[in-house]
């Protein structure tokens, strides 16, 4: 059905594009875009779409029913989880249903006649809708954020000192990284990681520059994650490591036992930091037969906690960006498909985007199986009944999907909030980098689809 719609669209498109004056179909007038966006917002408000926010507030309030069964210290987490899940769900509903039904209802009720017969290009109509719905979504997310903060602060006020402090620490993870005397470990190697061993007295070194003493409290928090083990014992996944922090104000050394890939926190005195603002962190193996592996982004410094509300707002931007990708796809699809099909496509994007990591891992497994089969080996990871051509097909489709669909993990606010971490400027930039290209591409596609659509 979708392919049929596309074939018809492009057949028409070729005819329409050759018509004189067709170029005007793509001309965009900002004032008219704003007029349509404004009307979209106004109409949504009249349709009482914002009543969903009242449902959100009720959903949030209902979390208090579980307070007696949760210790006071856990109540903040309960509210955070509750608020994030509810915000995520309600934003998804709004993004899917409003964007999926806006254009189809204009087509069905023939209101589109009133727009296309005015000096408004079809591209302007699409952009106006996109802008109006994006603003609607932004209002939703912002209001949900404000309701959440008011609710949490209210509970904090009523709970007294037993309520846990609301912390969101911002990370710095852009240190220069290098491995001194690196080791090549064929079994443990991961192409993204560097390894050192105790034998070679190697070290993993991060250098942070431009640090300001005022950005930290008494202590500088560190968080790291390492591969730890032994080249001679493939079953060992833990070991001792030595941290040495060097700055112009002195040196701090600490030894720690940790498991492989375990996130570990350290503190070093902020007084070490001199006016040059440079801090070198060395990690070495503490065991004589051990190895240590990490990548650049596996170590982060924590700044002094900032205002929780500000950190929370940054997290909501991630939620907004995620919803924007879904909204753009659903709106673009709705320019040529019916509302239910467009919404279904939006749901599919949610599902694939959320399962991105699994799909990626699965594709890697399939490729490994194919490689093994090509080498004439019996693949332990691919059942015999699956023919190689199907594995190849699955791998190709998965790779294509992974190229198109953004990884929703970049928009996952909960992984920061529930660990008392703030979304850093870099996290935000990464999320923007993953959301903006698909939104732009889908926006242009939607404009083209509408430009060549006729309303017979």
């Amino acid at each position: 059905m979708i392919s049929g719609a596309l074939i018809r669209l492009f057949a028409r498109g070729a005819r329409a594009a050759s018509a004189p004056g067709a170029a005007g179909a793509m001309a965009v007038s900002p004032r008219r875009v704003w007029a349509i966006a404004r009307m979209t917002l106004l109409e949504a408000s009249r349709r009482k779409v914002f009543a969903i926010l009242a449902l959100f507030a009720i959903a949030l309030l209902s979390s208090t029913a579980f307070f007696p069964s949760v210790e006071p210290a856990g109540r903040l987490r309960l509210m955070e989880v509750w608020a994030l899940r509810a915000a995520s769900l309600f934003t998804a509903i709004v993004a899917l249903f409003i964007s999926g039904s806006s254009l189809p209802s204009d087509f069905e009720e023939k209101r589109i006649y009133m727009l296309v017969t005015k000096p408004v290009s079809k591209a302007t109509i699409f952009l106006g809708k996109l802008l109006g719905l994006s603003l609607l979504l932004a209002i939703f997310v912002a209001t949900m954020g404000m309701v959440t903060m008011l609710f949490i602060r209210g509970v904090q006020l009523l709970s007294g000192p037993s309520f846990p402090s609301m912390v969101a620490r911002e990370r710095l993870s852009d240190g220069q990284f290098e491995a001194l005397r690196p080791a090549s470990l064929s079994d443990a190697s991961d192409e993204k990681r560097s390894y050192v061993t105790a034998d070679t007295a190697g070290a993993l070194v991060w250098r942070f520059t431009g640090l300001r003493r005022a950005d930290f409290g008494d202590q500088i928090g560190l968080e790291g994650r390492f591969s730890v083990g032994s080249p001679t014992d493939q079953f060992r996944a833990s070991g001792s490591i030595i941290l040495e922090a060097r700055a112009s104000g002195g040196t701090h050394r600490v030894e720690q036992f940790l498991n492989t890939n375990e996130e570990k926190d350290w503190s070093i005195p902020a007084a070490l930091l001199g006016p040059d603002g440079t801090l070198d962190i060395f990690f070495r193996c503490g065991d004589g037969d051990g190895f240590l592996g990490a990548s650049r982004r596996d170590l982060a410094l924590y700044l002094k906690p900032g205002l929780f509300e500000f950190a929370f707002a940054r997290g909501l931007v991630l939620l907004f960006l995620q919803s924007m990708t879904v909204l753009s796809l659903t709106l673009m699809a709705s320019a040529m498909l019916s509302a239910p099909l467009s919404i279904l496509l939006g749901v599919l994007l949610y599902v694939v985007g959320s399962a991105y990591g699994y799909v990626k891992d699965g594709t890697r497994d399939i490729d490994r199986s194919l490689q093994e089969l090509q080498q004439g080996k019996k693949s332990p990871s691919a059942p015999e009944e699956i023919p190689p051509w199907f594995l190849q097909f699955s791998s190709t489709v998965s790779k294509a999907v992974l190229r198109i669909v953004p990884d929703f993990d970049h928009f996952d606010f909960s992984k920061w909030l529930l660990k008392d971490k703030a979304v850093s400027g870099r996290d935000l930039a990464i999320a923007v980098g993953h959301a903006v290209p698909p939104v732009l591409v889908l926006g242009v596609l939607g404009m083209l689809v509408l430009a060549f659509k006729d309303f017979g």
Partner: protein, 298 residues
């Protein structure tokens, strides 16, 4: 003189899902409309009137043939700033009120705030919607929605007005008001293209017509040329006595003419209705348009 509208063998064939021809809605329509003319497109349901309008407004693309409006193709967005279109039904945003609706359409024409406000006020007053301007359109009657439709058609003071079934859904008073409005637009030099099932209305207001049937042009030309019967003469007298009538009949017979009908002249039902309603004094009044569509600021 440049034509306002010109079509050359304009054809539309609707196709099925697989692109196979399904129905020829319009077959080689070739018409021209001159400036200041009121042109009527007539035909029974399914004759291709609305398809023609959709083609002329760029809502659908022709299968064959060409059309130009004010010298530009229908797909040209800029030419639409000089056109006012009233669709067959009121496809309005039902959750907005009349003020918001007109403000929205005024914005689409890039009119500044003061002009939007002034024109909306004039049109709302002219179409008798002042008492309901703040009510949402979904609460309006069909006739009121139609009148809002007219307001949006004229919000840009268009040169060329396209009216699809303009009197459909209107009571006789409003219907008469629309006919007078069309004549007023003509008086002000505007060009009007309209379609209607109500042939008497068309006869009263149109200069030229085109009759379509099953997508094909059956008649095309000035209304008078199409309607005139060269073999019959109708004379209307006032205060003619019975005796004088008999003498005229006998004279005609002597000259070889055959009397077909001789009776007192009848008023139209519309005239009687309007007079009766106005005389009842219940507030329902017919107002002739004062100046028609709003004029540009001097």
């Amino acid at each position: 003189m440049t034509t306002v509208l010109e079509t050359n063998r304009l054809t539309k064939v609707f196709k099925d899902f697989w692109g196979r021809p399904k129905h020829k809605a319009l077959d080689a329509l070739s018409i021209t409309i001159n400036p200041g003319e009121v042109f009527g497109l007539l035909g029974p349901n399914g004759s291709g009137k609305t398809t023609t309008f959709k083609l002329l407004l760029g809502l659908i693309f022709p299968t064959e043939g060409t059309a130009t409006i004010l010298g530009r193709p229908p797909t040209d967005v800029t030419v639409k700033s000089r056109i006012g279109f009233l669709p067959e039904e009121s496809y309005l945003y039902r959750w907005l009120n009349a003020d918001e609706t007109l403000d929205f359409f005024g914005r689409l024409f890039n009119l500044d705030r003061a002009t939007r406000r002034k024109r909306a006020d004039q049109l709302i007053e002219q179409f008798g919607l002042g008492h309901a301007r703040k009510r949402q359109i979904r609460e309006y009657s069909k006739g009121m929605m139609r009148r809002v439709g007219f307001c949006q058609t004229l919000i840009n003071d268009p040169e060329f007005v396209i009216l699809d079934e303009p009197t459909s859904g209107l009571d006789p008073i409003s219907s008469r008001q629309i006919k007078d409005l069309i004549l007023d637009l003509k008086k002000r030099g505007k060009t009007v293209l309209l379609s209607s099932h109500l042939l008497a209305d068309v006869q009263q207001v149109c200069d030229r017509i085109c009759i379509l049937h099953q997508g094909q042009t059956k008649e095309y030309g000035p209304v008078r040329d199409i309607l005139v019967r060269r073999d019959s003469v109708q004379m209307t007298f006032k205060d003619l006595s019975e005796g004088a009538r008999l003498k005229i009949e006998e004279l005609a017979k002597a000259e070889g003419a055959h009397l077909v009908k001789s009776e007192n002249m009848l008023e139209t039902l519309e005239d009687v209705f309007l007079r009766t309603v106005q005389e009842s004094g219940d507030g329902l009044t017919y107002r002739k348009p004062a100046g028609g569509a709003p004029k540009e600021n001097p």
